[in-house]
Amino acid sequence: MLELLHDYWLYFLVGRYPEGPLGGLALTVVLASLALVLSLPFGLLLGLARLSPWRLLRWPVAVLIHVVRGIPLLLVIFWAYFFLPSITGHESGQFGTMLAALVIFDGIYLAEIVRAGVQAVPRGQVEAARSLGLNYLDSMHSVVLPQALRHMLPSLVNQFVSTIKETSLGYIIGLAEVSFIASQVNGLVLTKPVQVYFLLGMTYFVLCFSLSRAAFWLERRQARFLKAAA
């Protein structure tokens, strides 16, 4: 196993970079981070639209959520792969395709998390904000969302951990992320599939576990902050 690490660590970490495009673990991390950063505002918008008092906004979003939630991610990736170029008019590349699929797929899940978080904020909070004279957006922004975010944190982490693992499906469209690289390595070595995939598993575990721990730390700090006496 050490031999394996010694021979292939660089390939595993960055793919064929700098000669070729970036790949491996670095690509997985970049893809997952971008997917998180982009899907959160997207999910927030969808979630707020779903809570909107206007049907014209609420209904299309509800349909989108039900449709996307009813199909597997793999299918969303295929759709992005085959349909996106015909819609946008130019080739989006494997990375762009995968990113688009992840943002759409995670965005609709996040939308439901946002909805749950906002609805978990006690009604009295909204009433207090509105009775001070704050309008809908101000009370959302200054009163409801900061509290909703706290309710949402565990579910958000859940979703983000999923996102990291979902990047492995980029394999199917030939994106050179870490799973793809691992199978390449396996193809080169041939005799050590158990070790190769064990290392791959450990890599995902370390990524996801550290994210969970960081979130847990954040939760505890929040709880302390809310009880501060001065």
Partner: protein
């Protein structure tokens, strides 16, 4: 200042507010008492449009607050509202709770808003807690902050929806003291309460509700029972015992006091609404004057004393 004109409200088939006509003048304090379910909270919440009404008109400073097209946010910012459950914003410090709305709506700088907030916290005796989070405060302290938060918008009138009902008895006094100071300072107030200690210190005017006109005797029965939260109707004094279920629908008692009557001596025993009763011509309400504020018999009086160590008397 606040005028109700034939206000009706329904929850489904249930007629929650029935032909409400009332006027609260500037500087007046209206205390609304009554049993659970009699529509007290609904009534006060219609004043700043937290609840819609079915018919009638509610005007605050001459403006019909349920008029379509009204900028309700601007309007609400001139009506202070204090909730039973305080509803402080738990993610903001005490100071930020009070400084948030003035910054957003009154165009104050952060510094100005914090200065104003601090002055108000001083007034409710909590300046030393300015940087604490709400969860670190007792119920009474939270409610005082909530009052300061509402005052930070400098509203000409304040509404209190059972401000002491969620408090432990030993904390009721501090909140009532703040409210009493406000009333003394000439604030126009409407207060829904079960707190007979506060109602007791109210004075000259007693208004009672819709079905009272059905018959004077029955009205008195309702009046007494409702005023004491349907528990301690004085036996033998009133012609008919009041059934709670029926009363919810029928009865609501309003006690109304001039600000300067708030601290009137309260040793006198309540003698019943009929004495000196006078019907307001044309209106469904009976307006009752009695010379002194009333105190409540039996258990409620003891409860009021316990709840409010300093007392008013």
């Amino acid at each position: 200042m606040i005028t109700f004109d034939n206000v009706n409200k329904y929850y489904g088939d249930y007629h929650a507010l029935r032909e409400i006509n009332e006027h609260v003048a500037k500087g007046e304090v209206l205390v609304v008492c009554g049993p659970s379910g009699s529509g007290k909270s609904t009534l006060i919440r219609t004043i700043n449009r937290l609840e819609p009404i079915a018919s009638g008109r509610i005007a605050v400073a001459g403006q019909d607050i349920h008029a379509p097209g009204l900028d309700v946010n601007a309007f609400r910012s001139h009506i202070g509202f204090v909730f039973q459950q305080f509803n402080l914003f738990p993610h903001l410090s005490v100071l930020d709770n009070c400084a948030l709305a003035p910054q957003r709506l009154r165009g104050l700088s952060r510094k100005e808003a914090e200065e104003r907030a601090l002055a108000l916290l001083e007034r409710v005796g909590l300046a030393h807690k300015a940087h604490a989070m709400p969860a670190a405060l007792s119920g009474g302290q939270q409610q005082r902050v909530a009052i300061a938060r509402a005052l930070a918008m400098q509203p000409p009138q304040m509404l209190f929806d059972e401000p002491t009902s969620a408090l432990d008895p030993e904390m009721v006094g501090e909140v009532l003291q703040v409210m009493r100071d406000l009333a003394h300072g000439g604030m126009t107030m409407v207060c829904v309460t079960h707190e007979m200690g506060f109602a007791r210190s109210g004075g000259p005017r007693l208004v009672h509700g819709p079905r009272a006109s059905a018959g004077a005797g029955r009205a008195r029965g309702f009046l007494c029972a409702a005023a004491t939260c349907a528990r301690t109707a004085i036996p033998g004094r009133y012609p008919q015992p009041v059934q709670r279920g029926r009363m919810n629908e029928r009865m609501m008692v309003w006690l109304c006091a001039q600000a300067n009557g708030m601290l009137a001596p309260s040793g006198a025993r309540y003698r019943g609404g009929a004495r000196g009763a006078r019907s307001r011509p044309g209106g469904p309400y009976h307006v009752t004057h009695h010379r002194r504020s009333f105190s409540v018999a039996g258990a409620d009086r003891r409860r009021a004393r316990r709840a409010e160590p300093g007392g008013l008397s």
